[in-house]
């Protein structure tokens, strides 16, 4: 992930549920009422970059400022759905950068099982993506529903496979350059 990677920046902006452990004066703007204080125990969705900073800052010595929770996209319910059938889950609706988000989350939380579930999900879906990418009707036929549910990383994968197959066809003279 480089500094200018737009996907990494967008991942940083995804919301994460946080609970404030301390009362913070003047930070009510986060809740929508500017000028007020934030009470201890308030639950707010903060962007990943902010939540991460606030929860890590606690380690310096002072008591923890916020505690992080699992985002909705990686909840138990979603994990069960992925275990049941990875191909029917609409990852894009859960989070546009689902895999990037889960990578960041897994850096914070230690969840061995989640790694396994996600790895399996990615593999099963990647095989499906490859089939759609090489099938010339893949993007218009019955695959539409599945392809609409791809997250950003999977879309790049689809693009890579699809473009390569298309270039090959153009080179072999089977397809026309547009």
């Amino acid at each position: 992930m480089s500094y200018y990677d737009i996907d990494s920046i967008l991942t940083d902006a995804q919301k994460l549920p946080c609970t404030f452990e301390l009362e913070v004066p003047g930070l009510g703007i986060l809740e929508g009422n500017a000028g007020e204080d934030i009470k201890a125990g308030t639950r707010i969705d903060l962007p990943l970059w902010l939540g991460e900073m606030l929860s890590i800052a606690a380690r310096i010595g002072t008591s923890r400022l916020v505690t992080l929770d699992m985002p909705e996209a990686l909840s138990e319910r979603v994990m069960n759905a992925l275990k049941a059938d990875p191909r029917t889950v609409d990852l894009r609706a859960l989070a546009p950068h689902f895999y990037h988000l889960s990578e960041r989350i897994l850096e914070i939380f230690e969840e061995e099982e989640m790694v396994d579930v996600l790895t399996d999900t990615f593999k099963r879906r990647a095989a499906e993506i490859a089939d759609h990418a090489h099938n010339s009707r893949g993007a218009v036929g019955d695959g539409v529903e599945f392809l609409r549910g791809l997250d950003e990383a999977e879309r790049q994968l689809f693009r890579a496979a699809h473009d390569r197959a298309k270039e090959m066809r153009i080179w072999a003279g089977e397809a026309k350059r547009k």
């Binding site: 895999y99 790694v115 990615f122 990383a153 390569r164 090959m168 072999a172």
Partner: protein, 264 residues
């Protein structure tokens, strides 16, 4: 972003590299020997066959100055046999037909660290050869095998010299079928790729051609990269555990040494 071409090497670049393969031609006109950067070209005397780089052969063919003799594998029979073995037989469900044997094999001693892989390769090759014989193939001189640049050479010869080939339409169809069978094998390898990402496993790509590699590179690399990122935290934990074990292991090992020493 700024560079419009995708990463990796484009089909036309791979085809350009394949043009350095040598083919045999029967010239129709005399030509003095040429001194080219890639090496000298022998003088062409009409009824005598000559070996030329593919690009020169195609040039002469287009000018109707030569006829190309198709390479031994570019015939319907060997291609049909390879296709049958690749698609029908259990042994080859997940692997590709072996590449042509190296010219130096058997003359030079095999390096020690490669022996194991060599054994596997020759075993595959022998099994493949047996299959071919069972199917009624008679290739006492040469086993049919797809060379590294089979897609490119096959396509270019079909394009420019189809009148020199035996049953070009059938060859075209067989090449297409072969390509599809092998591509789907390569893609079904996704299942084992996560082992490759964390070290250890992998997909054997022995016998895969240059163009096939070029086509699947983007996809396979993308899958491995993403699997690596997803598994990063687990991998980190595993490394730490290993490091701990190593520290403890060394500690007990030194203790053992001391005990041995005491006994002496």
């Amino acid at each position: 972003m700024a560079f419009p071409l995708p990463r990796g090497i484009t089909p036309s670049e791979i085809a350009f590299l394949a043009e350095m393969e040598t083919v045999t031609i029967v010239p129709r006109q005399r030509l003095e020997g040429l001194e080219l950067l890639g090496g000298p070209v022998e003088p062409l005397v009409p009824p005598r066959r000559a070996s030329l780089p593919l690009w020169l052969a195609l040039l002469l063919k287009r000018q109707r100055r030569a006829n190309i003799i198709p390479p031994s594998w570019l015939h319907p029979d060997p291609l049909g046999l390879i296709l049958e073995v690749e698609s029908q037989h259990q042994d080859y469900k997940n692997s590709f037909s072996p590449p042509p044997p190296l010219p130096a094999l058997g003359k030079k001693p095999i390096p020690e660290h490669n022996t194991h892989q060599m054994e596997i390769d020759t075993m595959l090759h022998r099994r493949f050869y047996l299959k071919i014989l069972q199917l009624g193939g008679d290739f006492t001189k040469e086993t049919p095998a797809l060379p590294f640049h089979w897609v490119e050479v096959g396509n270019m010869l079909l394009d420019a010299a189809s009148d020199d080939l035996v049953e070009p339409d059938q060859i075209r169809r067989l090449l297409k079928d072969l390509r599809e069978v092998r591509m789907s094998k390569m893609r079904s390898g996704v299942d084992v790729l996560d082992a490759a990402a964390t070290g250890g496993g992998g997909v054997a790509l022995t016998g895969v051609g240059a163009m096939e590699l070029g086509e699947e590179r983007g996809f396979v690399a993308g899958v491995v990269d993403n699997l690596r990122k997803i598994g990063a935290s687990k991998e980190q934990a595993r490394r730490e555990q290993l490091a701990d074990q190593r520290v403890n292991g060394e500690y007990s090992a030194t203790q053992d040494e001391e005990e041995d020493y005491m006994e002496f």
